[in-house]
Amino acid sequence: MNVLQTILILTAAFLAVFGEATFPVLRYWLGAQVDLLPVLMVYAALNADLVTVSLLAVLGGLWFDALSANPLGVSVLPLYVMGFLIYLRRDLILREGSFAQLTLGTVACAVVPALSVLLMLTVGEQPLLGWSSIWQWIVMTAGGAAATPLVFALFNWCHHALGYQPRTETSFRPDREIRRGRL
């Protein structure tokens, strides 16, 4: 499942970036587009290996920057920092409950865009920022947080559908079988 999981996560990231650039419905109605890469990073950091986390950060970040006016590579580090921190503590982090997933999604979707903008200002870019950027940040955070449990559910469903399932043990034991005679 490991390779398949990596392929699934990267495919989802590719489609997510393309979807964000092609269907700006949320931007039209709410003034901001929700970024799903941090959500995928949360899932990858909790369920996949470090190679997948690194690939998602590098490829996802490059895909995002290639379709945007961002300097190429600026989205890689924020994504990776988030994924790496979650990966380091993943044994201690709750991941099953929807509320835990929502909280992780909130943190990731709030931190990653903020770090990206910070990095962009550091490299001398002048992104379009203003008071309404706070609204955009809230929309991105809330939208990403709401999408996190859905992404987890989708990947769990894929995992069940495509991966090997553990064999269920039956309660039948031959040494405990009661053999009945004619009487």
Binding site: V17, A69, N70
Partner: protein, 271 residues
């Protein structure tokens, strides 16, 4: 040992990111276009998906309505033909007057129509991508417009697609002139990150007398945009920097949030 591996991965990814960030602009631009071209196969799919509802609607349109539409278009076409004859006569007269006064004549624009295929996924830029590239003669800094007014300029060119930076983005500044008796001039600078319809017109003189509803056009200065393209209308104005200069808000005539088809001027006539 396990931790060491993790920090090695962190170091490797950081190094890759910093290397890409420190590439020269030309190499970055090429790499960006190369990475972006991975999405080319999906463009066709997206276009087909967007076209599908319209095709379905067309297929169930009653014949009577189609005939009415054809009739209406025919009448409109006749009107436009008549207008075109008149415009040709006016252009000829204009050219004669230009030659009499020894003024340089303005060449007609060579417009190339393009479809908007992508919007910037990042919320802090106002850019779109169009389905024309260097193979179609597109070059950096060519003006982009619609029938309603100016849209922006080409900022990066690939083989089959180009990036257009829209008015309101910090990377697209336009020298503008207000249609009033004083012909006040200013610079259209960035707008709001959320709304795409309002932009700031800055560096107007302190004595500028702007009124809501006055039209704002490109001034032709700056070497990118030709003169006389409509930008929008003045909404309000206020003195800034202790009255040193005036700032106004301009409502753009083009709805940048719903761009579908735009035109690129291949031979911008500059002053």
């Amino acid at each position: 040992m396990f931790r060491k591996k993790q920090y090695l991965a962190l170091g490797a990814v950081t190094l890759v990111a910093l290397l890409i960030l420190s590439l020269p602009p030309r190499a970055t631009s090429r790499l960006k276009l190369a990475v972006g071209s991975w999405f080319l196969p999906l463009f066709g799919l997206a276009n087909a998906a967007q076209q599908l509802p319209a095709d379905l609607a067309d297929s169930v349109l009653p014949r009577r309505e189609l005939l009415q539409q054809i009739d209406r278009f025919r009448r409109e076409n006749d009107q436009y033909k008549a207008q075109a004859v008149q415009n040709t006569a006016i252009a000829r007269e204009n050219n004669q007057l230009h030659s009499l006064l020894n003024w340089s004549q303005q060449a007609p624009w060579k417009l190339k129509l393009a479809n908007v295929v992508l919007r910037d996924p990042a919320n802090w830029w106002q850019t779109v991508q169009i389905n024309l590239g260097s193979r179609d003669g597109i070059q950096v800094n060519q003006p982009v417009l619609t029938a309603e007014g100016l849209v922006g300029r080409v900022s990066a060119v690939g083989y089959a697609r180009s990036q257009v930076v829209l008015i309101g983005d910090p990377k697209c500044r336009v020298s503008a002139i207000v249609e009033n008796p004083a012909h006040d001039m200013g610079i259209i600078s960035s707008g709001s990150p959320v709304g795409t319809s309002l932009v700031d017109l800055t560096y107007l003189s302190g004595t500028a007398n702007l009124k809501p509803g006055q039209n704002v056009f490109t001034s032709g200065l700056g070497g990118v945009f030709p003169k006389g393209i409509l930008l929008g209308q003045v909404v309000d104005s206020r003195p800034v920097e202790m009255g040193l200069y005036t700032e106004a808000r301009v409502k753009l005539s083009v709805n940048l949030g719903a761009l579908e088809q735009v035109g690129v001027i291949l031979n911008p006539p500059l002053n």
